[in-house]
């Protein structure tokens, strides 16, 4: 009797620990989810996206976008952004003709080079915009990418 009770206590102890660990990670996950800028990802026009991000950007020749001229597969379009603007704090990648313009945003802390690359989906041929935040000013550069096979829907 006492033996089985001891086993039972051991078991509950282990489960208790597991539950605590599970709870902790969920709480962290929720905190990170809340940090996600939902409004910016739901805008449906370039002007709205700029407004949510914080300002209308000025054209700049100091931002370069690395992307193919023609993307055969819109589901996987490699896009890289390099900014030579001093004090670049954030880089955003926008696709004008996607259902939602904002594809990705990167926060660049000090010490990290404003040079990021990822792969995005594009529904159709469109301009790709790279918006850079430096201080409280915004800059933008764009490049047209022709898509022969769309990557949204199917």
């Amino acid at each position: 009797m006492s033996e089985s009770r001891r086993d039972f206590m051991k078991l509950t102890g282990v489960f208790g620990l597991l539950a605590a660990a599970g709870l902790l990670t969920t709480r962290e996950a929720i905190a990170q989810q809340q940090a996600w800028n939902k409004a910016a990802f739901e805008t449906k026009s370039m002007a709205d996206t700029y407004k949510v991000l914080g300002g209308t950007p000025a054209e700049s020749a100091d931002i370069s976008i690395t992307a193919p001229d023609i993307a055969e597969n819109g589901a996987v379009v490699p896009v890289g952004v390099t900014s030579k603007i001093p004090n670049t704090q954030a880089v955003y990648i926008l696709v004008e003709k996607n259902p939602n313009m904002l594809a990705a945003g990167f926060n660049i802390p000090q010490g990290t080079e404003p040079n990021v690359a990822t792969r995005i989906k594009m529904g159709q041929t469109s301009n790709v915009y790279a918006v850079v935040k430096a201080g409280d000013k915004y800059y933008v550069a764009s490049k047209e990418v022709k898509v022969t096979l769309g990557g949204c829907g199917g």
Binding site: A104, F106, V116, M122
Partner: protein
């Protein structure tokens, strides 16, 4: 548990080039299945990379990032043997953390 990430970090001088390949569906929420029902969105929302406790990159992603996302960036101040920690969280609250040593 989602599949592990593939992380490669190489140091040249004190500049570290980081490449991460994540394994994730990145379902955009626009697609319909064969029965005509919308496939619910399921995508990574935030990615955080830390080096020695300091965040070197944090990214916010929308559903327009490709399936099995790729991320590349560079930061200064790292050296060989240091540890990098990459964490992502998706819109369903799933999360994964992987570590890599800079080579």
């Amino acid at each position: 548990m989602p599949d592990p990430m593939r992380i490669r970090a190489t140091a040249q001088g004190d500049v570290v080039d980081v490449r991460v390949l994540m394994s994730h569906e990145m379902e955009g929420g626009q697609r319909r299945d064969s029965a005509g029902n919308l496939v619910p969105a399921h995508f990574i929302q935030t990615v955080t990379v830390t080096h020695g406790g300091k965040t070197v990159l944090s990214a916010d992603w929308g559903p327009a990032v490709s399936k099995n996302p790729y991320l590349q960036f560079k930061f200064t101040g790292g050296k060989k043997g240091d540890e990098l920690v990459v964490t992502w969280v998706d819109n369903k609250g799933e999360t994964r953390t992987d570590k890599a040593v800079i080579s």
